[in-house]
């Protein structure tokens, strides 16, 4: 493990926060009571909630220690496939915390919110330019929420055309949220398999596409990291039967400036600002999932929409065919600011370079590790590549064992056991912000682990060793759920 970032440091123990509580402490500077106490009817008043009682330093130390048990992009490489864990620029945080944005109340009238409205309008224009679509909504709060928005628009489109449909085609390489989003619209999923080259074959779509099918959900590049090169033919088949093509844009980071999904037959596409556009994942959100659509779907976009009137901007709610409202206000505005700042910092050239370098990094890893790990689809990849544990199985070592061992070397593991089409999948997405040196270090770590699989499989099966805790009993956690203290 020489020259690898993983090492043992001093890790503090820290109890659950209520175990530090001491009656009488309060970490909040309470405002002076300058008006008379107003007593609510006693029957309405409850006991004060049993929250922990701490000093300010107690709180600071608790959360500082907790944070030190976490791995983040700022700590090390996070090659998590399909998640695009690129660097989160710090200037974006500065921009989002500007008082004029952070203090803005959502119910201040349009004329007092021109800064927010202009930012949203301009961001919509940039996303249209990047994706090649006709219109964009920024309202969905996350990728899955964007998917739901897209499916609701497809649903509304068919309703408007006078005949609702009952099914939707979903390939086996789809993200797990795709079928769940479709079923919220009452669509039954029709699963199809990708062809032997890991991409969809037009004949397979043709075989199931009929006039009772609302459309198809395609991720392009797909979750094997391969470009769906038959997409245009597939779209033609679906369109010929009156269906629509939904594009999952989670993997947009591979093709900015190269392919505009709006030009290749896709009708509606969601983006993940917390992937492609560098906003932080925050340990599971808040994200943002804008949706871009072709012209014929524009009337169905959620309300309110942002429009420009000469030199001013306003919200438009009067859209008779809209799917309705998806978020209490206008979506995750604070996240939009960060993505907007990123796009302005990169420019068109920078975004294109980002995609090129993301694909370069992935292909470099694929070529460098394909003798070490089994590569089920040995084809040029896009921004990610998918290996598996077929070689290591001989020593009874699984993808999970290797993933856990990577933690000791100081790397976050890749996405494991996804996509489902590859047994024991080990899915690596380095992103463009990792340097060659860091990637070489990762490659060396994987090679060292593969060697351990041959020489010391027993040790590997017990990894990790340097983390705060070792492998956790997830079965017991689910069997006897303990969800609060």
């Amino acid at each position: 493990m020489e020259n690898q970032p993983g090492t043992k440091g001093l890790v503090f123990n820290e109890p659950e926060i209520w175990d530090k509580s001491c009656n009488g402490r309060c970490a909040m500077s309470l405002p002076k009571a300058d008006v008379k106490r107003a007593q609510l009817d006693k029957t309405l008043v409850g006991d004060a909630p049993e929250l922990p009682q701490l000093s300010e330093l107690d709180v600071v130390r608790h959360y500082t220690r907790l944070s030190q048990w976490n791995f983040g992009v700022d700590s090390g490489m996070y090659p998590l496939g399909s998640c695009t864990m690129k660097y989160n620029p710090k200037t974006n945080e500065v921009q989002a915390s500007r008082k004029g944005f952070a203090s803005a109340h959502p119910f201040t009238e349009n004329s007092y919110s021109q800064g927010s409205l202009k930012l949203m309008y301009d961001l919509e224009q940039y996303l249209k330019e990047i994706t090649g679509f006709h219109a964009v909504t920024l309202q969905p709060a996350a990728g899955a929420h964007g998917e739901l928005a897209g499916m609701l628009m497809i649903h509304k489109y068919h309703a408007k055309n006078g005949r609702q449909r009952s099914k939707i085609i979903i390939p086996d390489t789809a993200h797990g949220t795709n079928p769940a989003s479709a079923s919220l619209c009452g669509y039954e999923s029709v699963n199809i398999k990708s062809g032997k080259n890991g991409i969809l074959e037009p004949e397979d779509v043709k075989a199931v596409m009929d006039e009772d099918t609302a459309g198809i959900m395609v991720t392009n590049p797909n979750t094997l990291g391969l470009f769906e090169s038959n997409i245009k033919k597939i779209a033609d088949i679906v369109h010929a039967k009156g269906g629509l093509v939904y594009g999952d844009g989670a993997n947009m980071n591979a093709i900015m400036g190269i392919v505009k999904p709006g030009e290749i037959g896709i009708d509606v596409l969601h983006l993940n600002l917390h992937k492609t556009f560098s906003t932080p994942h925050g340990g599971g959100g808040p994200g943002s999932g804008p949706v871009a659509v072709v012209k014929k779907l524009e009337p169905f976009l959620p309300v309110p929409r942002v429009i420009k009137n000469k030199d001013s901007y306003e919200f438009l709610t009067d859209c008779p065919d809209t799917i309705g409202r998806l978020h209490t206000f206008y979506g995750h505005f604070g996240v939009l600011i960060k993505a907007f700042s990123y796009i302005l910092s990169m420019g068109a050239k920078g975004l294109t370079n980002a995609s090129k370098l993301a694909v370069l990094n992935a292909n470099y890893i694929k070529e460098s590790l394909k003798e070490t790990l089994n590569l089920p689809y040995d084809l040029p990849c896009m921004h990610e590549c998918v290996f598996n544990d077929a070689i290591q199985k001989e020593h009874h070592i699984t993808t999970m064992d290797m993933a856990k061992r990577l933690l000791d070397y100081g790397f976050h593991p890749p996405t494991v056991y996804f996509p489902l089409v590859v047994e024991g999948a080990f899915m690596v997405e380095p992103t463009e912000t990792e340097s060659k040196e860091d990637i070489d270090q990762f490659i060396d770590a994987v090679k060292a682990i593969a060697k351990e699989a041959r020489t010391d499989p027993e040790t590997l099966r017990r990894a990790p060793f340097l983390t705060k805790v070792t492998r956790l009993d997830e079965v017991a956690a689910a069997r006897k759920p303990c969800l609060c203290g």
Binding site: P49, E50, Y63, K99, S103, A144, K260, S435, C482, L483
Partner: protein
């Protein structure tokens, strides 16, 4: 570009490994006719200081750039955010981490969210709380879906007309395509949900009531629970002002089956309405019906305590189309923010802040009445209330923003056409007695 580390030498040597000679060759697998011929029309890249200038210009186009006084709420509240909250939440180990799928290196997020779930159950008096949702409106829509899916025959849900109008719109968006119907319960002249009208409703799968309601009034949750129990259907409550439960009896004490709420008040900036924090809690019986993530406590292979994401069979990874919801990313970092806020205020602080919210709102209402505004409803309220204003107020309201940076009240007519000249006012702990006295003097 400072985010892109590759030197020309790096690129050349990396291409060589793939047997390619240019970056464009990486895209040979994409048919030419699918590649775009159109450039992206985006402004040239800005330097960091150019970006600062541009963004400050935009921010200054918002009235919020000045020191404003907010006498408005309606789902987004101006509360004091202690310095330690943005400081701690900015730690990159929290901010730049992914969803904690690898628990060995995510114990910080996991213990933090476990503590969040616990503090939410304390605040609401419920048995379990999820790891968060997008906002109250989406959480409430999901809660209604639970009630509807569980009911064998009815496809209708009774929803108070005093639930936030935007939340009702979201419910319509979520419920409509699945063939479910929303029946609105009217409100009384006391500004509360009309329980008599509800009693007469048959064939409903659940009841949803917001308290404090959109008018700020406290609802009689006990009576609604009785009706729900009689009808053997689920009782769902919601709220937009989480701090109310620092003072009021919590929904759990009234037997709520599901509670959806907005947690923005718990240390999260207004930020033009998002990201906020969706809270979703339930009774023990509802645990496996709740959508979204849970963190649970368990042991590691050394029998040391640790935390993991759990009950994942409800989610879309495993049963895919049978998942209870499609939610994947939630608002995790804002849940952590709320947890830090609740730990900071603690039992003593939350009660005092909640009481002060009520005190200020009561003082404001009294002052506005003295200035000639008429109280619209005579019901107990927390920190928001409705008054009827004279016709001249509309113009005054504009000048208060333009000249004094005061946002005074929200016009309710667009939400409730029958309530002409009715405004929803709010006062929180950030409003001083002087601020209130000034406003009252201005509107006299």
């Amino acid at each position: 570009m400072r985010y892109l580390p590759h030197t020309r030498e790096d690129i050349e040597s990396m291409l060589k490994v793939s047997g390619l000679s240019s970056l464009d060759d990486l895209f040979n697998c994409i048919p030419d006719d699918l590649k775009t011929k159109q450039k992206m029309d985006i402004p040239q890249a800005l330097s960091e200081w150019e970006l600062d200038t541009h963004m400050e210009e935009l921010a200054s186009l918002n009235a919020a750039n000045k020191n404003c006084k907010y006498f408005i709420g309606a789902g987004s509240y101006d509360h004091y955010i202690p310095a330690i909250i943005p400081y701690l939440i900015s730690r990159s180990e929290f901010m730049t981490a992914y969803t904690p799928y690898q628990p060995e290196v995510s114990q910080g997020t996991l213990q933090g969210i476990y503590e969040f779930q616990t503090m939410v159950t304390q605040l609401l008096g419920m048995d379990v709380a999820t790891a968060s949702h997008y906002d109250c409106g989406t959480a409430l829509a999901e809660a209604c879906l639970i009630a509807l899916r569980k009911h064998r025959t009815s496809n209708k849900i009774a929803v108070s007309s005093l639930i936030h109008p935007h939340h009702r719109q979201i419910m319509q968006t979520y419920l409509g395509p699945a063939g479910y119907e929303i029946v609105e319960i009217p409100y009384t002249d006391k500004g509360v949900t009309d329980i008599k009208a509800l009693e007469k409703m048959d064939d409903i799968a659940g009841i949803a009531v917001q308290s404090p309601n959109f008018f700020g009034n406290v609802e009689d949750l006990a009576s609604f629970k009785t009706v729900a129990a009689d009808k053997k259907i689920l009782f769902i409550t919601s709220f937009t002002e989480a701090l109310a439960y620092g003072l009021l009896k919590n929904p759990g004490s009234f037997g709520a089956d599901l509670v959806a709420g907005e947690g923005q008040s718990l240390g999260i900036a207004k930020s033009f309405g998002g990201p906020g924090l969706g809270l979703l809690a339930g009774s023990k019986k509802q645990m496996r019906n709740l959508p979204g993530r849970f963190v649970g406590k368990t042991l590691d292979s050394n029998s040391d305590k640790g935390y993991v994401l759990t009950l994942a069979t409800r989610e879309q990874h495993i049963r895919r189309e049978k998942a209870s919801s499609n939610i994947c990313s939630n608002n995790g970092l804002n849940a952590m923010t709320a947890a830090i806020y609740l730990a900071t205020t603690g039992k003593i602080g939350i009660r005092e802040i909640a009481q002060q919210n009520h005190d200020k709102a009561f003082y404001l209402k009294t002052g506005l009445e003295k200035a000639g505004f008429k109280p619209a409803f005579n019901s107990p309220f927390f920190n928001e209330f409705v008054v009827k204003v004279p016709d001249s107020f509309k113009a005054k309201k504009e000048s208060l923003i333009n000249d004094k940076n005061i946002f005074a009240g929200i016009d309710l007519e667009s939400f409730y056409p029958e309530l002409k000249n009715h405004y929803l006012f709010c006062a929180t702990e950030t409003i001083s007695k002087l601020d209130i006295d000034q406003l009252v003097k201005e509107v006299q």
